[in-house]
Amino acid sequence: MNEDFAARVDHTAGQRSSKPNMVDIFLAQQPRLRRIAAGMGLDASDVEDVLQDVSIKALKGPANLQGKEQSTRWLIRVTLNRCLTEHRRRRTFKRHTGEILKRRSQNDAASKPTAEKVIQAEELEIVRQNLQKLDDTLLPPLVLRYFCDLKSKQIGEVLDLEASTVRSRLRDARMILAKKLQKRGLEP
């Protein structure tokens, strides 16, 4: 699914037009913007709020945007910034681990043995809590890279960062999550 998603991004990003219709671009990009907002940890109603705000901003969009590529980047940036405002304002990734696992087991016909589920629940909770605590500079690249399958260069263009800085932030974020998980594993 992620590969298709990335292909769509590349496809739309490659098309250029001198006068982009922001509403059309917004509608075309809506699934991706929704994915980003969900990856940033917002709950369903916050995601709807964010998308609504972004749609209004798209209508009033800056006149200096050139082509679909630039407009798409602008939409992603606006969505991320709006998500970060929510992220600072309230606790994100609110859904409890128990609920996530329950839903997964309902959807997963070949569910795992109970002991394995308990271990996974603890680990899932650690990751959930640490995603919640992740710095504003680390969460967006992580979501764009591993949930939206964008490359470091593309992420850099959206966030106005060098690709090397993006890679460094991705390493930092991954290390934080991995070490927290490892630390829990070492505790008695």
Partner: protein, 169 residues
Amino acid sequence: MKESCDNFAEMLVDYADGGLSPEQSTKVADHLSECEDCRALLNGLQKSLELAQVIWEDNLSQTTETIGIPAPGRIRRRSWPRYAAAAILIVSAISITSRIINKPAKDEPTFAEIERKITEAGNAARLLAAADLLGAYSEAETIVKQQYRRIVETYPDTSAASKAKLQVE
């Protein structure tokens, strides 16, 4: 973790993602075969990413299943529809509370039901206000129609849905 591990830790994320050159990969693989700490860290990197993806996917599925129903007690933040929604909420709350106080019959709805209806009415009014405002822009026709349909489908029992229905038809 050994001192030399610090040099490899830098490369472990790229190794896990398959982003290293063949030479670098071989170097890291050689080190991993000898170092239990780095193997554990690599395992942590892979596992934490898998779990993060579970959380993200779950959150995404929630957003596509539920549309705009806020948590109980939640305060909406946008200013322009907030006042309209707040007014409706206050009037509804006073009216319903008054009914509860005056007629505590057995078939009255529960407080949770009332709270849900108030929330839904407020939500629908907020979305309707947004759609009406967007309606002023001819380019937004598709979004606005989408929004009216969403109100009708998601909050069918509200007065905002009746108004939205007129716009859809």
